[in-house]
């Protein structure tokens, strides 16, 4: 519908005199319409369209060509029995569970360190802290793969220097996931740091002064003033990070390709491989819908917890 309007509207803007425009569209109807019509068209085409298509594909056995046959909820029923799907989803949850706290602590530490009044070299530190933001997920994966190479990596070299045997960073599934967790915290810290800096700047300095007069030490100040004051930002950061980690794909592709074997295959990679390499579009769409539901549940739980606990943390 929006496409037909697109072809129609510009002609009107150019040709019709202002009076007629007013009568037909009312005061300032045409301008806002023209300002937004392209956005709306793109939104419908690349967002609503695929969303609706995805939902309907999930009820069919569509393979990317030919006719799709309606199969009802068969795809979902099959998903329930699919162990590789559970494996991928479970591994993703484990990954999020460990990487979110680490990412949170790292970015908060960076923000606090940058906000300390008396530390030196803050401008330089700020620029360096922000560099990982520029590094693409693929290159992040390459960087950490290089650091944690089993026979040539810097970390194993250090371990051997102090007399250890070198750890199997890429052939052991759990160690491999640990590297992914470190890399994701490193790569995502800069953006969250910005959110925290903005929040820290909004904490009234008078709180700190009053507490200092009462003899509070630095840890008490942080625990009892800073943390409660930035609680809304903390919720936001944890929520955004969790949702981001659930969608991890590119970085782990470059770091270990979901390996060893398929043990670290996360959910988006599962959807990608099912849909594009095995071209089971219907089945992959059903998995996508499950992922969507999981993402929504995570968002709802976190918003609910943050509402309930209020400022208690």
């Amino acid at each position: 519908m929006s496409t037909t309007l697109t072809t129609d509207a510009p002609a009107q803007a150019g040709a019709s005199p202002p009076k007629r425009r007013k009568r037909r569209f009312g005061r300032h109807r045409l301008a806002p319409f023209l300002f937004t019509v392209l956005t709306a068209a793109l939104f419908a085409l690349f967002f609503v369209g695929p969303g609706v298509l995805g939902l309907s594909y999930s009820l069919t056995d569509y393979r990317g060509w030919g006719d799709a046959e309606f199969v009802g909820l068969a795809n979902y029923a099959e998903l329930l029995r699919d162990e590789s799907f559970y494996g991928a989803l479970g591994r993703t949850l484990v990954y999020a569970l460990f990487s979110v706290p680490l990412a949170y602590c790292l970015s908060l530490s960076m923000a606090v360190a940058l906000n300390a009044v008396r530390s030196k070299g803050k401008t330089a530190a700020r620029i360096i802290f922000f560099l990982p933001w520029l590094v693409s997920p693929i290159v992040t994966g390459v960087i950490w793969r290089w650091m944690f190479g089993e026979s040539f990596g810097f970390i194993n070299y250090l371990i051997r220097l102090v007399g250890g045997g070198g750890l199997p960073w890429s052939s052991d599934a759990d160690l491999s996931l640990a590297v992914v967790i470190l890399a994701s915290a490193w790569g995502g810290a800069a953006f969250n740091m910005l959110l925290f800096i903005a929040a820290l700047n909004n904490v009234p300095q008078s709180y700190y002064e009053a507490a200092r007069l009462d003899g509070a030490n630095a840890w008490q100040l942080f625990r009892n003033i800073t943390l409660p004051s930035i609680a809304p930002t903390s919720v936001l950061v944890i929520l955004l990070t969790t949702l981001g980690q659930m969608k991890e794909f590119a970085m782990i592709q470059a770091l270990n390709g979901g390996g060893p074997g398929t043990q670290n295959r996360l959910i988006v990679q599962y959807i990608y491989e099912t849909g594009f390499e095995r071209s089971q579009i219907g089945y992959a769409s059903a998995a996508s819908m499950v992922l969507l539901v999981v993402l929504m549940i995570i968002a709802i739980i976190q918003l609910w917890v943050s509402k309930r606990s209020g400022n208690a943390w």
Binding site: F35, T39, F46, V117, L131, P137, M147, W186, E209, G275
Partner: protein
């Protein structure tokens, strides 16, 4: 959360708030606690964050034989540009660079323009159409692109955009973050300005392009840089849309290097470093537009 200042440029310096904590105390131990400890903490973190990058960068200047020979040394014993030369010779680096540049630049220009017009309309006009659109764009933040990967591919393919750079560009133009950044900014521009211009007889389009866009330049720049970074580093959409290696963007090309059975590390290291250069230059030039807290405008809405 809207700041009262009309030009966000004034808030770009988000240096830590000045504190009135200079209560004279005991010297000596106090000095240690107050100056040295925070500085050490800061620089330990800097070291942790910078080390992976530094190690990577220095390794890219080592000759292939030195990369794997123990003992490893932090600085290359034998500086060489061999990996970089190979990256241009053996990998069609310039072609991927060109593709990435086209995708990132065109998308960024379209994104800034469309997000500005949409954000402006959402902030300054009222009608049912706009309310619905605003809600739709908000819902876009809930439904991530990864969830609609397969149907998105079908749509792109049926539009005949498969394997063309246009297929990577068009679907990513509208971003909710960009729209909300502009909406947030234009809400802070007083309506009186708009009324005055209307009374002077300026058309709606002239008001937007002549008055509002120049005002919004800092936001436009911020969004331009963020959007360029997003599109430059994009992986999943180019991966599904671009099938022919001739059309690969840098990220896809790097992925095929790292996905090979026998990774050619010296080429991979050099190509990765090269792929980051444009962004690093952009960042160093426009640093203050990114690290300002304006980024939060859309998110914290």
């Amino acid at each position: 959360m809207v700041t009262t200042s009309t030009t966000p440029a004034s808030s770009t310096k988000s240096t830590p708030a000045p504190s009135g904590t200079r209560i004279p105390r005991r010297r000596g131990a106090g000095l240690w606690r107050r100056n040295v400890l925070p500085t050490t903490f800061l620089w330990v973190l800097v070291l942790l964050m910078a080390f992976p990058l530094l190690w990577f960068l220095l390794s890219s200047f080592k000759p292939g034989s030195e990369l794997f020979s123990y003992p490893l040394s932090f600085l290359p014993r034998d500086w060489t540009l061999g990996g970089y030369v190979d990256a241009f010779d053996r990998v069609d680096f310039l072609r991927y660079l060109r593709n990435s540049t086209i995708v990132a630049t065109v998308t960024t220009a379209l994104t800034v323009f469309l997000c500005a017009t949409t954000g402006y309309a959402l902030a300054k006009y009222r009608n049912p159409w706009l309310s619905v659109l605003g809600l739709c764009i908000l819902s876009m933040t809930m439904l991530p692109g990864e969830v609609i990967l397969n149907p998105l591919f079908i749509v792109i393919r049926d539009l005949g955009l498969y394997n063309s750079l246009l297929g990577v560009i068009v679907p990513t133009v509208v971003t909710p973050t960009g729209v909300f950044m502009f909406r947030q900014f234009f809400l802070s521009v007083p309506d009186e300005l708009l009324q005055a211009a209307r009374i002077d007889g300026a058309s709606e389009y002239r008001i937007f392009f002549g008055i509002m866009m120049p005002l919004a330049r800092p936001i436009a720049l911020t969004l331009a840089i963020i959007s360029f970074q997003w599109r430059w580093n994009d992986y999943i959409l180019p991966l599904i849309v671009l099938g022919d290696p001739k059309n690969y963007t840098l990220q896809i090309a790097l992925r095929s290097l790292v996905g090979a059975d026998n990774i050619n590390w010296s080429v991979l290291l050099a190509a990765s470093v090269l792929s980051m250069l444009p962004l690093v230059v952009l960042y160093l030039v426009f640093q203050r537009y990114i690290t300002s807290s304006n980024i939060n405008a859309g998110l914290k809405d």
